[in-house]
């Protein structure tokens, strides 16, 4: 498959950045205060750099970059062909980055700053970013494993979970200590939904055409099974899900950081597995 780990990093970082922004906005909406201002700062200001770094990985994966042909203007062609999800994605990312950056910058200077238009635009673009990373794969008919609506949903959920983890880790830098109350149920619910979506995805694949069956087999019992069950399901979803559901919002930084790091590892593993397990349609039938 033409896309590998580098694209997984891109999708992961774009998702985490967008998710962090959404989580920050949700926190802000729930009422900003001394307790959560670090988190709002972190979530908004981290979004743009994460998405930017992710995009840098995308650029690194461009074959003409690999071939050492430095013709940066070719990137501008990416904006031109609207039948392609990448064109849409390029626009979304291009708009999301400055909007989130400006909003984050303002929040950094003054956590109580607010601007409805900027916030709404940022939230819509953040959501669009997280959806885009899934639809990019979802529309590919050549890979039956991807070609469904579950992948975009899964990526949105994963973006929120990893965004939350990113915001939590970031908030520690800005001196945050406690988490908003709604994090606990949200964390649990997202974990449950993510598990359900994964289950649907693999069920659809296992009962789908030959290529999709092969993909599912690789993940469930084949060469990626250890990463799937061990890293993604157990360490990346169940363990943090349990921590999130049981730990008190006032628990120590250590346990929260561990929770967040496991979530991030799981989120990256999810993207990587879905890309690596892609099997193109069977031709010899």
């Amino acid at each position: 498959m033409a896309w590998g780990i580098i694209i997984a990093i891109y999708l992961f970082l774009a998702g985490a950045g967008a998710g962090a922004f959404l989580i920050a906005v949700m926190t802000e909406r729930s009422g900003i205060n001394k307790e959560n201002e670090a988190l709002v700062k972190a979530g908004t200001i981290l979004a743009a750099p994460l998405v930017a770094i992710g995009t840098l990985f995308l650029v690194l994966d461009l074959t003409w970059v690999e071939a050492g042909k430095f013709e940066p203007w070719r990137i501008f062609y990416l904006y031109t062909h609207f039948t392609s999800m990448i064109t849409w994605g390029t626009w979304i990312l291009t708009l999301f980055m400055p909007v989130s950056f400006v909003y984050g910058w303002m929040k950094l200077k003054n956590p109580y700053y607010t601007n409805n238009a900027l916030r709404c635009a940022g939230a819509v673009l953040a959501f669009a970013t997280s959806v885009y990373t899934g639809v990019l794969l979802g529309v590919v008919k050549a890979v039956p494993f991807w070609n469904n609506a579950v992948i975009p949903m899964l990526f949105v959920v994963s973006a929120l979970v990893t965004g939350m983890a990113t915001a939590i880790l970031g908030s520690f830098v800005f001196g945050g200590k406690t988490l908003p109350d709604f994090f606990k149920p949200l964390h649990t619910w997202l974990a449950v939904i993510e598990l359900l979506l994964l289950f649907f995805l693999l069920m659809i694949a296992a009962n789908g055409p030959e290529a999709a069956r092969q993909s599912a087999e690789m993940i469930i019992s084949g060469k990626y099974s250890l990463y799937f069950w061990g890293v993604l399901v157990f360490l990346g979803i169940i363990v943090p899900g349990v921590i999130g559901a049981t730990a008190s919002p006032k628990a120590g930084k250590g346990i929260k950081a561990l929770d967040a790091l496991l979530v991030l590892a799981g989120g990256f593993t999810l993207r990587a597995l879905i890309l690596l397990a892609a099997v193109p349609v069977t031709l010899m039938n």
């Binding site: 033409a2 074959t63 970059v65 070719r74 062609y77 990448i86 349609v281």
Partner: protein, 179 residues
């Protein structure tokens, strides 16, 4: 305006790879880069076993997924049905490689773009057949113009009941297979 099409009769394919080589030669491809590839599979258990071959290259689809997903418009279809890539416009995102059900694209590491079969348009314009067709030592390949009612390609498609590969995907390929 012609509309080019090809028939590959796998029942006459010697699996000798002369087409692969002739194509590499025609386009001066670097070693390892092939526009046509020979796939093989085994079915059944000894002694009730079969080996099957399939020659795969760009199918020049009328509804080409590669054109649809290309964000720069570098991949395009000519009026005569040949799908081509404008190297200079390609950003190298590889979405076309991902989206092509036939896995017909290969990266040219020198140019940094995913290339593919071009139906030898330069030969076709001179009235010649594509290199893979002229070289085929089993005469398993045919090339012609679907718009020309007198072209033997119609008879061959009809007579051999040639069908596109994975027609169910809705890509409307220009290559028809006899298998």
């Amino acid at each position: 305006m012609p509309k080019y099409a090809m028939v590959i009769d796998m029942t006459k394919c010697a699996a000798c790879q002369a087409c692969t080589v002739a194509c590499e030669a025609e386009w001066g491809l670097p070693p390892g880069e092939k526009f046509t590839r020979l796939e093989e599979r085994e079915i059944g258990k000894f002694p009730n076993v079969r080996r099957e071959f399939l020659l795969i290259q760009c199918q020049h689809c009328d509804k080409a997924p590669c054109i649809e997903v290309c964000p720069t418009g570098a991949t395009y279809k000519r009026e005569d049905g040949i799908v081509l890539l404008d190297d200079k416009r390609c950003a190298g995102c590889k979405y076309c490689m991902v989206a092509c059900p036939y896995q017909a694209r290969v990266i040219n590491h020198e140019k940094g773009v995913p290339e593919k079969c071009r139906f030898c348009y330069h030969r076709v314009e001179q009235g010649k057949k594509p290199a893979c067709v002229s070289t085929c030592i089993g005469e398993a390949r045919y090339f012609g113009d679907l718009e020309d009612p007198n072209d033997e390609i119609h008879r061959i498609i009809h007579q051999k009941q040639a069908k596109p590969l994975r027609g169910d995907l809705g890509t409307k390929p220009s290559i028809y297979y006899v298998r």
